[in-house]
Amino acid sequence: MTDRTPNATDERPPKPRPAPTPDADSAPYWSAAREGRLVVQRCTNCGARQLYPRDRCLVCRGPVEWVEATGRGTVYSFTVIRQNYSRPFRDWIPYVVALVDLEEGPRVMTNIVGCEPDDVRIGMPVRAQFEAVSDEAGIALFAPVSGADSGADSGAD
């Protein structure tokens, strides 16, 4: 598979991780992650929590507010990417794209870091760690919880 990677002779500097473009609905999410906090939307009427951010509750159409999440969750599903010809992703191969069910309910898309791709399992407890990707946005990556350590960590490992 290595011989299929078209960047063997590519000496350009690594391309940075793509940054999201915040909009009216999502800006609070990205700026919180920039500060090392994971937030989800909570309906002030029925209490339902949601992500992707919307301007109203998808259960009862009530107003929503942003509330802090613990950053703890479990792997719902995942895939190990073994082929990708686009920059910067081809430099990451193999990498893990996963869906993580947060303790608070919403399911988030992320990368699992801090372990070998082959060691990722459905149901694995994970916690958020944060990476700044632009002046206005950070993202939450998730790493396996080791031992008794289960608190959210805002530091970049």
């Binding site: 299929r4 909009d23 609905d25 895939t79 794209v97 898309m109 459905i122």
Partner: protein, 410 residues
């Protein structure tokens, strides 16, 4: 499907040549669409003077209102675009055309799809890295997503999640986790479909035999999907002509009825950060088509046990298994064993499926070619003909807002 005595049927199908990605360089995607539409009209024994409607589905680059002039239609009375996306919308577009014909809004509607992936970016890819906004907006405004793709891209691209194989690999991983579905069971879909394509001179992969060992040796793309779990990328177009049974009485090859159709998306689609990821577990690890299936069977007056042959949308092998479950050919979680039993293989399987080779081996035309093959089966024209076939299920894509229909010979 019938109202006021006007019943819709398919009387013509047309195709261009199908070629691998970039294989058609001398004709534009739009020209191929026109070519396919004209072929469907000719197949029906009609002329453009008989046609007054055009229909397609979301993400089509080729406008019906532009094409009507090139086709020389006398008057355009119906032009529609289903919101259901590429993959999910082919059967919906046919159903919309049938509704237009049955309502009397139009007499003859052609549904078309053209995909020249060599001339455009690969279908289904994210729009690249989103450009940073530069400077203040020219007019102050609230910026807010207005489409699923726009909403989702910010939540997927930073993680290197930008293509359907990655998204739907996670669906299959979840299905494997819950039901024990295996890679070899997915391989049965790939190998069976390739064998069907070997008999089909139109098939892009018709001359490329595949064994289970070949399948298992193909390179891993996004676990559990290997290269041979993924549909083709290619150039080509096809079209389907729908009119009333009355008009079809003197058609060249006789009518094929649309017994019933349905379209839509379950609640929960679009609630999460990408497509189906926010759905409840039972729906996420499925084709997401149980609502469409129930409504389609109810409207068509037939059920899974009445189906002689099926064309199941196959963007990925594993999602065929999930569609077989949603449409009731086997129990929940039993799609893998059902395929591994040989059920999908022509001619002796319980449900010969994708008898043209499907998107995996004939061509990827967003499943409109699956409708074409369904019509061929009921005319007795398939290269993997099911003897005496009277009913054919055609489904559009799993995992997205989707549609399905039953074709019948009656």
């Amino acid at each position: 499907m019938t109202t006021d005595g006007r019943a819709a049927c398919v009387v013509g199908v047309g195709e261009t040549r199908y070629a691998k990605w970039g294989g058609i360089a001398d004709t534009s995607e739009y020209q191929l669409a026109v070519e396919a539409v004209l072929a469907a009209i000719a197949d029906a024994g009609m002329t453009p003077d008989d046609v007054d409607g055009l229909a397609s589905f979301a993400e089509d680059r080729n406008e019906a209102t532009f094409m009507a002039a090139d086709l020389g239609l006398p008057e355009l009375r119906y032009a529609s675009l289903s919101w259901l996306p590429g993959g999910g919308g082919a059967c919906a577009a046919v159903a919309n055309a049938a509704m237009a014909v049955e309502s009397g809004a139009a007499e003859a509607v052609v549904v078309y799809r053209s995909l020249c992936q060599g001339q455009f970016r690969r279908f289904g890819q994210g729009p690249g890295n989103m450009p940073a906004r530069v400077g203040p907006p020219r007019v102050p405004h609230v910026r807010r997503a207005t489409s699923l793709l726009e909403a989702h891209v910010a939540f997927t691209m930073p993680f290197g999640m930008f293509s359907p194989p990655i998204a739907y690999a996670m669906v299959l991983r979840r299905h494997m986790h819950r039901f024990g579905t295996t890679v070899e069971q997915m391989g049965h879909v790939a190998v069976t479909t390739r064998a069907h394509a070997a008999r089909n001179p139109r098939a892009v992969m018709g001359d490329r035999a595949m064994t289970m060992d070949d399948y298992l040796a193909s390179r891993m793309v996004s676990e559990p999907f290997r290269l041979f779990d993924c549909c083709l990328e290619n150039d080509g177009a096809c079209a389907v002509l729908i009119t009333t049974t009355e008009r079809a009485a003197d058609s060249a090859k006789g009518p094929v009825s649309v017994l019933g159709a349905a379209q839509g998306a379950l609640k929960g689609f679009g609630h999460g950060q990408y497509s189906n990821v926010g759905m409840p577990d039972d729906d996420y690890a499925s084709a997401g088509a149980r609502g469409v299936a129930a409504r389609m069977w109810a409207r068509s007056g037939v059920g899974p046990s009445d189906i002689d042959v099926a064309q199941i949308y196959d963007h990925f092998t594993g999602l065929v298994l999930l569609s077989l479950e949603d449409f009731g050919f086997c129990g929940r979680g039993e799609g893998g064993p059902f395929a591994a039993s040989g059920a999908l293989a022509w001619p002796h399987g319980a449900l010969p499926t994708n008898t043209h080779g499907g998107s995996l081996s004939e061509a990827y035309i967003h499943g409109l070619n699956h409708v074409v093959e369904g019509v061929r089966q009921l005319r007795g024209e398939s290269t993997c003909q099911v003897d005496g076939a009277e009913t054919c299920l055609v489904t559009s894509a799993a995992g997205v807002p989707t549609s399905a229909l039953v074709l019948g010979r009656r």
